[in-house]
């Protein structure tokens, strides 16, 4: 991010001089600062509402319930860890927390998964297949309700901010499944090199 930030601003000034748009560049810099604050304030209400709802979801044990459902498929995908390992439960829990958009809860659970997987790892500085699969699932970012995105659209006055829910769900589900398949495929390819 450091380089992207630096390059964007340097290029803007250089092109501002070349295209004789330096005045616009300066003005946009000043108005963008205000815009950033306005956007963040327009998010407060919806974020507060959603985090309130999600707090109830957390307290009523929905994460635990959802993770029970995911345990069986998780066992099939993570064959190389011991079947009674606590990691299976943690993996299901982490995916569930992410699916509900509970980022704050998901990170500590995810880090615990990594520790539990590391305990079964024989080469401590090399990633196991399970770790690659788990992080593949994590970076695919499966999420049921993209709350922040809806908040930004609503804050900007969209006519119907929730209409992106279904398309997003379709994309996130498909890419989640395809990423898992990619991880399985890469696992077989990598075997030949290890």
């Amino acid at each position: 991010m450091n380089y992207i930030f630096f390059i964007l601003i340097v290029l803007s000034v250089v092109f501002g001089i070349l295209n004789n748009t330096l005045n616009e560049v300066t003005n946009s810099m000043l108005s963008a600062c205000n815009l950033a604050v306005k956007i963040s304030f327009s998010l407060i209400g919806i974020m507060a509402f959603w985090l309130g709802i999600m707090r109830i979801a957390e307290k009523s044990g929905l994460v635990k319930y959802l993770s029970k459902l995911l345990e069986l498929p998780a066992k099939l995908l993570f064959k190389d860890i011991k079947q009674d390992s606590p990691a299976i439960g943690s993996i299901a829990m982490s995916i569930s927390a992410n699916a509900l958009g509970l980022t704050n809860a998901a990170t500590p659970i995810g880090l615990r998964v990594m520790q539990e997987l590391q305990e079964e790892n024989t080469k401590k500085d090399v990633a196991t297949d399970s770790m690659c699969m788990f992080l593949g699932m994590n970076t695919a970012g499966f999420q049921i309700i993209p709350a922040t995105v809806i908040a930004v659209l609503a804050g900007a006055g969209a006519k119907n901010p929730t209409e992106i829910i279904l398309p997003t769900l379709i994309v996130t589900t498909l890419s989640f499944v395809l990423t898992i398949l990619a991880a399985l495929l890469l696992k077989m390819i990598w075997r030949k090199y290890d």
Partner: protein
């Protein structure tokens, strides 16, 4: 049809969560307000990131340098979306800044804003997740984890473009 489903999902989930809370004897009102407190914190805490990234992107666009990017899109990715594609895997708050900028400059009901919304909602900060999770247990050789993450990102970008085209562009929005 699709709009109806989309509109129904959110109220349904809210009712479901509230009902689950009542059944499990959770004090729903108190817990709701407790969770809602974080809404203010979360929204305000992203201001520094939003300022940094929205300023940089706005300057970049105002200077006319954005024309340069149009050569790198290969005709698949709309050039207006490219800054989002670049920042999404790196930083969640930066991507949110770029997304907000897109929504504000093209309008929240524009095709570009909707495509960007689907893209942000269906992906993760791949490189951030990989470095934090592997870093926490001292893994140095990530093997095929990075490749899996990148493949996942490419898949979700292409899918977002395809799905947005079918659902939003076909309706002439």
């Amino acid at each position: 049809m699709i709009e109806t489903i989309s509109v129904c999902i959110l109220p349904f989930i809210i009712i479901f969560v509230l009902a689950a809370g009542i059944i499990k004897k959770v004090p729903v009102y108190e817990e709701f307000t407790e969770g809602a407190k974080d809404g203010f914190k979360v929204s305000v805490s992203i201001i520094p990131y939003l300022v940094a990234i929205i300023v940089a992107v706005s300057m970049f666009k105002a200077s006319g340098a954005i024309e340069l990017l149009k050569h790198f899109t290969l005709g698949i990715i709309p050039p207006d979306i490219l800054p989002l594609v670049i920042t999404r895997p790196l930083s969640g708050s930066a991507a949110l800044g770029v997304f907000s900028d897109i929504v504000n400059s093209f309008g929240p009901d524009s095709y570009t804003a909707k495509l960007a919304a689907v893209m942000v909602g269906s992906s993760e900060t791949t490189f951030y997740v990989l470095s934090v999770y592997f870093g926490s247990v001292g893994i140095k050789k990530m093997r095929y984890a990075i490749l899996t993450g990148i493949i996942g990102d490419i898949i979700s970008i292409l899918l977002a473009i395809a799905v947005a085209r079918v659902l939003f562009l076909a309706k002439g929005v």
